[in-house]
Amino acid sequence: MGREAALGLDSLQATTNGAVEMLGWEHPEIFLLSPLIVLALILYRRSKKNVEALEKLFVPVLRRKYLRISLTLFKLLFLASVLVAAAGPYYTYQVEEHVPVEDAHLLKGKPVIHVILIDVSKSMSYQLGLTSRLDAAKKLLETYLYKLGEKDVVHLVAFYGEVRPLYTGKPVDAVAALNKLRADKKYTAIGDALAYACSYARASRLPAVILLVSDGKNNYGGDPVQAAEVLREANIPLAVVAVGDDGVLGRVAEAAGGKVYLLNEFTSEAVLDFASQVARDARYSALSARGEAVISKTVYDYSPAVVAAVLAVVFFVASMVEGV
C-alpha cells in the first residue's frame, strides 16, 4: 500500500487485475523468534500437572480433555499468529492501469513508429514569419524528434508529386536527413502520401502514428480525404501540422479522426512546447489505438498480515477462557 503511493500512481484507474504473483515477507527475520514459541509451550506443559490439580479444585469444566487441548492449541496459535503478523506477510500481483494523456510521459518506454510525411513542394518555400514554411516545419520536427522515446522508430518520408522514403531508424539520427530537405519539387500529393503511410503503418507490428506536415495545397494524386477515411477504418492515428493555413488539412484530420495543429508565425514562437505537445499526443494516440496506453505495476497487498493480526486477537481472547 505504501509502495503504491510511492509510485505516485494512486490516481490512475485500474483496468484489469492480474493473478497473484508471489507471497513475500516484509520482516522474515522475525521467524528467528519461533523457538520462543516452543519454549513457551514447554513452560506451559511443565505447568500442566499443577494446572490440572487447580482445575480439579476450582474449574470442573476443564476436566474435559478436548477443551484443555483446545486451550493449549489456542495459546500456541496465538503466539504463532503474532509471529506471522509481525513478519509482515504480503502477496503481490500485477495490475494494468490505463494512463490518461496527461500522464503520457509514463509510456515513454514503449516503442512507437512515427511515419512522418513532410511536404517538400514549392509552396513550402514561401515565407512564414521570418523563415520559410519548410524551415519552420523542420524546426518543429527537429524538436519533435528529440522529444520521442529512445525506443521509438522514425520513418521519414518526403512527398510532392511522388512519395520518397528518406530514412528509417532512431529519432535523433533522422535530423540529418531532415536538414537536407529542400522545397523545390512539383505538385503536392497528400492522398498518395497518406496511402503510402497507411500501408507502412499496417505492416508494422508496433503501434504507429502518422504525422503529416504540409501547407495543404493538394493538387495531385488521390483524394486526401478518402485516404484519411481509410486511416480511420484501419485505426491508424493521424496528426496533422498545418503550416501557414490548414487548407484541405482540416477536412483530412476530421476524416481520420485526428487533430490539426496550426504552425504559423505566432505558434512557431513557442516551437519547443508546441513540438512537445505534438510528440506527446502523437505517441499517446498510437499507443491508445493499439490498447497499449497502459502501464503494468506491482501491487503489494498486506491483507495476510491483517488477517494474521486479527487471528492473533481471536486466539488470545479464546485462550483467556482458561485465565492467564
Partner: protein, 298 residues
Amino acid sequence: MKRLATRPVIFTVFAILLIILFALTYVQWQPSTSSPEIEELPELFVKAAYGLNYSTKLLEISLTGSIPDPSEHYSSMLSLSAKLRNLSEEGILTYSRLGRELRDSARAYSAIALAASKLDTLSMEIANTVPLIDAMFHNLIQCNISAAASTAEKLEPKLRTLKQATDAALKALAGVDADKLLSDQHRAIYSEAAEEAAKIGHMLVEISKIVNMLRNVDADTLRAACIAHKMGNTISLTNCKMLSQHLLAINPSKGCKYGYELGLIKSWLKALGQQSQNGQTSSGTGGGAGAGQPSSDD
C-alpha cells in the same frame, strides 16, 4: 501454589513482549529532533540536493494536473532545512577553516531544502489550478467566450496564490549560495530548479495576460475575432484596438505548456489585419521575392 502463580505470569509477560515486538515493527520511528552530528553532514547535503531534484520533477509533472501527494516530502525538507540551519549555528564549526567552509555549505544546503519545500507547495497549487487553466484556453480557442470569461474569473484568485507561491520559491532559490554547494551535480540541480521555477513564473505572466484580456475586452469583439480567424477572414471592428494591444502583448515563447494555445490566440491578430512581433504582415507573406502565396506547385 507460589510456583503455580508465577508461570502464567511468565507466559503473559512473554505474550506481551511479543505483542510489543509486533507493534514496533509497524511503528515508524520519529526522526530525532536533536542536532545532527557533523559526521551526518555529507548525507544531509545529498538528501537536500536529492530533495530539490525531486521537487523540480514534481513541478514539471504538476503541469499535467496530477502529482503524487507532496506533503510528506514537504515536511521532510522543512525538517532537513531546520536541522542543517541548527548545525550551521553550532560553535564547533567556527574553529577551523574546514569547519567554517562546512558551516557555509550547511547554510547553503539548508536553503536548498527550504527551496525544495517551497517548490512542493508551488507544485501542489499548480496541479490544483491546471484544470481551470486548461478549461479557459479550451473555451477561448473554441470561441466560447462567455465560458472562458467565467473560468477566468474563477482563475484570477488562484493565479494570485500561484504567483505568491512562485515568488516564495524563487526567493528561497535566490537565497542559495551556489558557490558553497559541494559538487557540480548539486549546482546543476539547483540551476535546473531555478530555471523551472522561472519558467513557471513566465507562464503565469502570460496566463494573466489572457485573463486580463477576457476581463477588459468586450466579449463580442473577442468572439468576432476568434470566429473570423477560424474562417480565415479579416474583420474591421471600431473597438479592436484594445484587443490588438492585448494580443500583441502575448508572448507564446514564454507560455511553457500553453505556448501553442497562446500562439493560436495571438493568431487572431491575422483576423484584425495586424502585424506580428516579427514584423511580418498578418497574411503570412512578406515583401521579398518569391514570397507571394502560390496558386499551385506546378
